[in-house]
Amino acid sequence: MTSTVAERVGRLERQWAERPGVLGWLTTTDHKRVGLLYFWTTLVFFGAGGVEALIMRSQLIKANNSLVGPEVFDQLFTVHGMTMIFWFIIPMTTGAFGNYLVPLMVGARDMAFPRMNALSFWIFVASGIFLYIGLFSGFGPDAGWFNYVPLADRHFDPSRNIEFYTLALAFNSIASTLTSANLIVTILKLRAPGMSFNRMPLFCFAFLAASFGLIFALPSLSVDLLFLYLQRNLGFHFFDAAHGGSSFLWQHLFWFFGHPEVYILIVPAFGIATEIIPAFTRRKMLAFPLVAIAELLVVFIGFGVWAHHMFATGLPSTTLVFFAGATSMVVIPSTIQVFAWTMSIYTGRPKFRTPLLFIVGFIVMFVAGGLTGIMFLAIPFDQQVTDTYFVVAHFHYIIFGAAVFPIFGGMYYWFPKVTGKLYFERPGQISFWIIFVGTNLLFFPMHIVGLLGMPRRVYTYPGDMGWTSYNLVESIGGYVTAIGILVLFANLVVSYFRGAPSGPDPWHGPTLEWSVPSPPPEYNFAVIPTVSSAYANWDSDDRERDGHRLTAGVGTLERGHEQHVSSLIDGWTAEIVDMPHASPWPILLALALSLLFAMLVITKFMFAAIFLVIVALTLLGWHGKEPQER
């Protein structure tokens, strides 16, 4: 007997239904729910990092200010840097945007490893709580986000502050690694039938690049953290020159991770830009293959340039020149993308709605930050401005301008998809302009004050240096930016309650997420879509055919919690698998791991070993239930 469309959809709804209530959220493995959990949690950390920034700007608003003392200021700038990088941008892009959107864009019903996805979220939350317990108990990390030894060694930092740094970051790295592995396998193996590599959205190329970057860069940080932990707590000598170690080893390992990290932060933002530009210019991205390659290449080259962070440390001149040359290569893939974005807008029919405004703002900020970046290639100039506010200005143009602007643009762009409501356009545009003006007021004078010699990381400064008025403008810029961000979120909150219904596709978006209802149902696609180009939602014949297939019951995979698995290159269907559903094990495992890490902070190794056994037992329970045999 043949089923009707309503019966089929009803079956899918029953099979994929999530548990109601809080328990449903605690045990969820649905990529959209995990993505939303990431989104909300990450916003809390963004707020915390923002408050830290505002306290610092309030302290620096005038000379000889005494709002906070040096100890607190040290912790503020360290935790601000750590929070914004590890607890806001990376989890916001890979965790929230990646989790929510990648399966929808590749035509999958979930991530490749749904329970591991939930695990990565709970570990991420625990690692953030861990960091802030340190801060609020007066043991916040205080040696800067790059935590150089010997300053961070026990001799100069004898308290527990650095243990909170090493273990919170190591814990956070596990979460990021799990998310990256999940994104890579999802993108490589769960693509819709017909979605060969060349038909994959540029957004997915960007997330693939960032995820590979994390998989290969984070171990360098982990090794560094392990070495530091062993040196501080068990008397090892990795960084101690008196016993054959080298403090340079910390820096090499840190920056071998730290520089790819910069691209890991901004490449997902590039991906967001390559979605928003086609949607609001009504044209496909110019130079598609070049942009795809450039997204991958920028991360790849990022692994060969780390020593440019060490130009002022006394490395041999040959090394400096080599790394300056290698760094200059980053210009090539970056410029390819800048030209592709700008020319796509120029040759399209742009509608400057809020998401596209944020992308234009991003391009302006990225080019400005990129130009000061090129200046650092002149080694004597770099040595002159190292550790001044010039560097702070440069990386904030990149990190705030190039990474956060597209995140804001993306929030507006996908708001209708996630909530089913339209946001209010005018307040959206106002929020953009306030943020754009605010960030430039905040960060541009830092170039000047840096050239005037103001060092970074000082908690105050004398009044006769000529820095005071610039600092005043910067602080005002900080407050203006904060107001702009508040307007942005107020707009989204009000839109959620009062916005007009958006329908499935208010922008006539180019990729598959716009082919499903808003918000998407738990099973994402009632029929597994077939794809014949990278702009699948613009291929109306294909989408029409999906409708016929749903009526005929072809490709609906409705016998269980089913997912198709595709071949690596061509996207041909290779297998149908049964996927895991809601599970308590991820949150339990994250809890056991948290206790293990807590024991490591207070160096109770016997208890740590007990919790390690509990971790193993939890894993045993995790793998107790096997998927259905097909």
């Binding site: 070495f227 068990l234 090892f236």
Partner: protein, 190 residues
Amino acid sequence: MTDVAVDARARERLSLGWWGVAMLIATEAALFAMMIGSYFYLRFKNAHWPPPGVPEPKVVVPLVLLGVLMLTAFPMWRAARSATPRRWLLLALFVQSGYFAMEVSDFQDDLHHFTPQQHAYGSIYYTLLGADHGHVAVGLLLNAWLLWKLLFGMTEYRRKAIRAIAFYWYAVIVLTIVVTLTVTSPAFAR
């Protein structure tokens, strides 16, 4: 019909679990690359390696043990392809456990001669070997888990698990080759 037809052109039969292990191996390979890089970085920063007062690393025993570990790739490979994998897994687990016990004893013996707190040489030597032995220990637990699961019969899930875990073991063997050659290298460099 309610299915997506499997495409005859898609020849790949590697499970998602196998791909997960591939990601683990990629990130672990990077981890060991960084540790080994650190070993040679510290080595070239020091005029004497090992430092005076620390014995040269043993060569014969670690290389023989390495050979034994390499041989276990064969039973793992057979287990991944056999209809009756239990005996192959048991054989592999038996030899791997022997290898692990010998290595742990060797590690303790080394600690009697020099400590990680003495010099950067000892710090990186023990950290590198400890990390490698840790990976062997995880492999042993995985094999033991597989054998326990197989007591209740064979399923498609378990067949995929054997392949994925065999893949993990090949990687552990390659890591161990590199780590062993690294820590024994001062004896060859004279």
